[in-house]
């Protein structure tokens, strides 16, 4: 990347939709795929006389994320009402946490270009999701199925100095919530949503500039573009002696630009106050200790272990730990005869390449790790029989091609006859299969993400 003539400052607010079976304050299911307004009850519809009751699982998941990110868990936190009018917000307020959040002062280790960085987390708090508005066709329709689904809002410090850093943080956050089993972390489906505060300044020694809040950057595909665009827009304004206004802006992915949400939306005074329907949340020691005991190996711990103990390169370690399933698979391939480096090469290049070619996801990978391991051993045996390892490489290009084709045919066809994989691996059936095959986390998907507010 060419050197910029200015310094970017970015902070992220990430919303993690929790994979609980029921909603945050009522017993409605959160299953994906139910018909519109079929997973609602008088509580989440804001009927008169209804009261919220907190879902314990939400607290457990929040504590899990708090501990994983090294946050202090506040033994007493307070639910607050965030008041605003919008048709997809049935009560006229959102239950959230304000001045006393559950988790504070954490950090997320992120591997960037082979170096570890730590980005600060200001706070993590619990809140409920709003419904989904669908506009058009001469009117607006609202699906309240999502209303009351639990969210964790993770607010970072303004620690990012480039869009790439922010993206890397977001990817690590996604890996983390997936490995903790608290969310499927799917951005396209809205289980992970991101707002960013962006400002620019001439040099890192200058004070922070006026920031804008960027909404609707809900895809890894364009988050960096959105942030870079907004920073460049601000710098351009400053160069022309214009004033950057503190405001909320929306990113339009099609046009590749941001635009102001001028008017009512930004004049909000949410009039937060403690929700009198909910007592202060007291988190007992037992709950925290149970969560601590339930913490799995965290993604960065695994990445570090791959580098330090298995001797993998930072690149390989990152690729293999980018996906929980891939990494679990890799570990099952390794044994005393198949060293980690060899397994890493096979998994990250051969296997992933083959899957990509067939438009398959890791979840629907038909090759058992044991099969791949035995294949690696066979190839290794062939290699050791070669007269000289040195002469192997120059000769191998053609042979490798042949071999690659044949092993794939072998592996895939064998597993197909075993009936492990579906008959056709077309793109159209990908989602359905992924859903059926992913049993680790409950899946909740929404095809449309309502415009963020």
């Amino acid at each position: 990347m060419a050197a910029r003539e200015y310094d970017i400052v970015i902070g992220l607010e990430v919303h993690v939709q929790l994979a609980t079976r029921t909603k945050a304050f009522c017993a409605c299911p959160t299953d994906f795929g139910a018909g519109e307004n079929s997973q609602v009850c008088p509580v989440c519809m804001g009927m008169p006389g209804m009261l919220p009751v907190l879902n314990r699982r939400v607290v457990e998941m929040a504590v899990l994320l708090g501990l994983a990110t090294g946050c202090a868990i506040n033994r007493e936190s307070v639910f607050a009402r965030k008041n605003y009018f919008y048709p997809d917000l049935p009560k006229g307020y959102q239950i959230s946490q304000y001045d006393k959040p559950l988790c504070e002062h954490g950090k997320l280790p992120v591997l960037i270009d082979g170096a570890w960085r730590e980005f600060g987390i200001t706070r993590i708090h619990i809140e409920e999701d709003a419904g989904k508005s669908m506009h058009g066709g001469g009117g607006s329709l609202i699906d309240f199925n999502r209303t009351g689904v639990p969210l964790l809002e993770v607010v970072s410090e303004p620690d990012f100095r480039s869009a790439d850093e922010a993206t890397a943080y977001l990817k690590t956050m996604r890996r983390l919530v997936r490995s903790l089993g608290i969310s499927d972390g799917n951005m396209e489906e809205g289980s992970l949503r991101c707002d960013a505060n962006v400002s620019v300044r001439p040099t890192p020694d200058d004070p922070f500039g006026t920031r804008t809040e960027l909404k609707n950057i809900n895809s890894f595909r364009f988050i960096a573009r959105a942030l870079d665009y907004e920073a460049a827009r601000q710098w351009d304004m400053l160069q022309h002696h214009e004033v950057v206004v503190q405001e909320t802006r929306l990113y339009d992915a099609e046009k590749g630009r941001t635009y102001s949400m001028r008017g009512k939306e930004e004049a909000h005074d949410y009039r937060y106050f403690p929700d009198p329907d909910l007592l202060p949340l007291i988190v007992e020691n037992d709950l925290v200790e149970q969560a601590r005991g339930a913490l799995p190996e965290l993604p960065w711990q695994r990445t570090r272990r791959y580098m330090d103990d298995l001797g993998l390169s930072a690149y390989d370690a990152e690729v293999l730990t980018a996906d929980e399933e891939l990494s679990d698979y890799f570990e099952r391939v390794v044994d005393e005869d198949v060293p980690a480096k060899t397994a890493a090469n096979w998994v990250s290049s051969e296997l992933l390449g083959a899957l990509k070619q067939r438009e398959l996801e890791m979840a629907s990978n038909p090759i058992e790790p044991e099969r791949l391991r035995s294949l690696i051993k066979l190839v290794a045996g062939e290699r050791s029989r070669a007269k000289s390892p040195r002469t192997y490489s120059p000769r191998c290009s053609r042979r490798r091609t042949i071999r690659r084709r044949s092993w794939r045919r072998w592996a895939f066809s064998r597993s197909r006859t075993k009936g492990r994989s579906p008959p056709s691996w077309t793109r159209s059936s990908r989602k359905a299969r992924r859903k059926s095959s992913n049993t680790r986390a409950e899946k909740r998907r929404f095809s449309v993400i309502s415009s963020a507010r």
């Binding site: 006389g49 209804m50 006229g92 005074d269 106050f273 009198p276």
Partner: protein, 338 residues
């Protein structure tokens, strides 16, 4: 006028239409109409009775309670409606005692506090006489009557009108015309909200919503809602201190007996001040009741307010029950056709 917002229930009990009825008491809406109508009305400890199904006005103050013609009936109904409800996070898990069994008629040794701040300038002299007379009767029955002080009483009305209206402004936001109820048509969303809510709410409700929105607004929160929450704590502490010395408190329920229809509506502030004697109990979350305690010169009922420790409705009812036998019964209202 039979009194505040649950007065329909009070009037129905007074008229003999029903043996008992329910009401909600946020700032005195059970006790004040009970006083005006000459019946017994109980506001339980906050959290004693589930608020599930109650249309919320001010969630941290609202509490359901019974009206009845005598203390025993009130105790029976109260026993039936009290108890933990998993649907209401603010409801208490504590076991519910047999309230009717607590009505022994014996208050020997009971320490009764009479707060000096409740006998102020605006108090009808007939009411003061009746309430002090009740305290004397309690002494005759073997109770120990002492004067106590609740120094922050004078801030209760101001505190209440900040807390209650703030919560009200949020609780009433759901009546927005989107999912149910009235909807006025408009060309855009903001217009629909404005027109629907302007048409659907009356003047007094709109006044309270505006007051509450103001009290919670950025830049005013600390001065109003934040401050009110602090004063609320002080009012609660007053009672805590008092209950170290006494078991129950005797006070007037309302500064005046019932007034005529239309007499007060032009002056909201005066109307708000008539709640001055019942409001502190809600702010502190305590149990309180009103029971008949004689009449004024015009023959209108006077209410004696009895206030108890948190979750100690049993002692409250025992004291009221013993007093009931010693005090003159409330006059039966003359109904049309009689």
């Amino acid at each position: 006028m039979p009194g505040g917002s649950s007065s329909g229930s009070a009037a129905a009990v007074a008229a003999g239409l029903v043996p008992a009825a329910l009401g909600t008491d946020t700032g005195g809406s059970i006790r004040q109409p009970a006083a005006h109508c000459g019946v017994v009305g109980v506001k339980p400890t906050y959290g004693r009775v589930s608020r599930w199904g109650v249309i919320a006005y001010a969630s941290s103050l609202d509490q359901v309670g019974p009206f009845a013609r005598n203390v025993e009936d009130a105790a029976l109904v109260l026993g039936a409606i009290c108890g933990h409800d998993p649907n209401d996070s603010t409801s208490h898990a504590e076991a519910v005692p047999d309230f009717a069994a607590a009505l022994t008629g014996d208050i020997k040794g009971l320490r009764v506090g009479v707060p000096r701040e409740y006998f102020t300038d605006g108090l009808d002299p007939a009411i003061e006489r009746a309430v002090r007379g009740a305290a004397d009767k309690a002494r005759d029955l073997g109770a120990e009557v002492v004067e106590i002080s609740l120094p922050h009483t004078k801030y209760a009305v101001a505190t209440y009108y900040v807390v209650a209206t703030a919560e009200c402004s949020s609780n009433l936001a759901r009546y927005d015309g989107v999912r149910y109820g009235l909807r006025e048509q408009a060309s855009d969303l903001a217009g629909m909200y404005t027109r629907t809510r302007s048409a659907g709410f009356g003047d007094e409700v709109r006044r309270r919503i505006l007051l509450g929105v103001f009290a919670l607004s950025a830049g005013y929160y600390d001065a109003y809602y934040g401050r009110a929450s602090q004063v609320r704590t002080l009012i609660g502490r007053d009672f805590e201190n008092a209950f170290e010395k006494v078991d129950v408190i005797f006070a007037p329920t309302a500064p005046e007996t019932a007034f005529k229809l239309g007499e007060r509506t032009d002056d909201p502030l005066k109307m708000y001040l008539s709640d001055i004697l019942t409001i502190p109990v809600n702010l502190a979350g305590l149990p309180g009741l009103s029971m008949p305690c004689g009449t004024d010169d015009g023959g209108l009922p006077i209410g004696l307010q009895v206030i108890g420790r948190p979750m100690d409705e049993a002692t409250l009812l025992r004291a009221a029950h013993a007093m009931e036998a010693a005090l003159p019964p409330a006059p039966r209202p003359k109904l049309g056709g009689e």
